[in-house]
Symmetry: C2
Subunit: 148 residues, 2 copies
C-alpha cells in the first residue's frame, strides 16, 4: 500500500508557504489551487503543520506563515506531522501460532530487520531540509524564467 498523498500535499503546501508567503496571502483556497485539491484537504494539512509548530495559521482573517527556519525542518518532520509515520510500517499477521517453532519466534527473528529497513527510509527523510528543497526550487524557477 502506498503512503498517503497527505505527505506530498503537506510538503507542497509548506514549500508554497515558504516560497510565496512573502508575496501572497497563503489562504487554504490559494494553496489548494496550486496543489489542485479541495481546500478542506489543505486546511487539514495546515492543521497538521500547525500542530507540529511548523507554521502558524490565522483564524478568521486567514493566511499561513512559517514559524520555523527552513533549515530546521526536514521532510521527516512533515512526514510525521502529516500523520504518515507508523510505529510499524510493516503490517504483521495477528497471532502466529505459539505452538509452532516458527510461529513462536517469527517476531523475534523478523522484527529487527523490518525496523532497520523502516529506519533507513526515515533517516533519509531526515537528511533533507526545506532549506535545501527551497534552494532547488528557486533554481528551477529561475532557470525556467530565463529560458522562456
Amino acid at each position: 500500500m502506498k503512503i498517503s498523498s497527505r505527505f506530498a500535499v503537506a510538503v507542497h503546501a509548506l514549500l508554497a508557504i515558504y516560497v510565496l508567503g512573502s508575496e501572497y496571502k497563503m489562504t487554504s483556497d490559494f494553496i489548494a489551487s496550486s496543489v489542485n485539491v479541495n481546500p478542506v484537504v489543505i486546511r487539514r494539512a495546515l492543521l497538521s503543520l500547525k500542530a507540529a509548530g511548523i507554521i502558524g495559521v490565522k483564524a478568521g482573517s486567514g493566511g499561513a506563515m512559517p514559524l520555523m527556519n527552513a533549515e530546521n525542518v526536514t521532510l521527516y518532520d512533515v512526514y510525521a506531522a502529516a500523520g504518515c509515520r507508523e510505529d510499524n510500517m510493516f503490517n504483521f499477521h495477528d497471532e502466529p501460532n505459539p505452538n509452532c517453532p516458527v510461529g513462536k519466534n517469527i517476531h523475534s527473528v523478523l522484527d529487527p530487520y523490518l525496523e532497520t529497513a523502516q529506519a533507513a527510509m526515515e533517516n533519509e527523510l531526515k537528511k533533507t531540509t526545506f532549506a535545501e528543497l527551497i534552494k532547488n526550487l528557486d533554481l528551477l524557477i529561475l532557470k525556467l524564467c530565463c529560458n522562456s
Copy 2:
C-alpha cells in the same frame, strides 16, 4: 498506510518451508496453522513465491519445497514477490497546478528525495538473506528447547 501483511505472511511461510520442510509435508493447511490465517491466504502467498521461482508447489498431491538456496533469497525478493513493492511508494497528488511556480516544479524537486528514501528501505531488505534468518531462527529454537 501500512505495508500489507502479505509480506510478513510470505516470509513466515518461506521460513517454515526452509526449516520444517524436511520434516513435514508443507501443505497450505499446515502452513496456515503456523501463520494462523486462512489456508487460501497461504495458497496465494505460495503462488507468489512460486511465480518468483523461489519455491515449487506440487499440485494435486500437495506440498511446497524450496527451489533456491537460502543464501540467494533476500527479504527484498520476497517483498517484491508478494507484490508489496511499488514503483513509487509515496503517493502524489495527481495534477499540481502547472501555472504555479511551485506546482510546476514540485515533482522535479521532490521526486528524487522520495526515490532515495524508498531505495534506502529496499536496500536494507536486500541485505538480509534467508540463510541469516534461518540461522537466527534455529538459534532461538535451540535456546528455547534447552531452557525449557
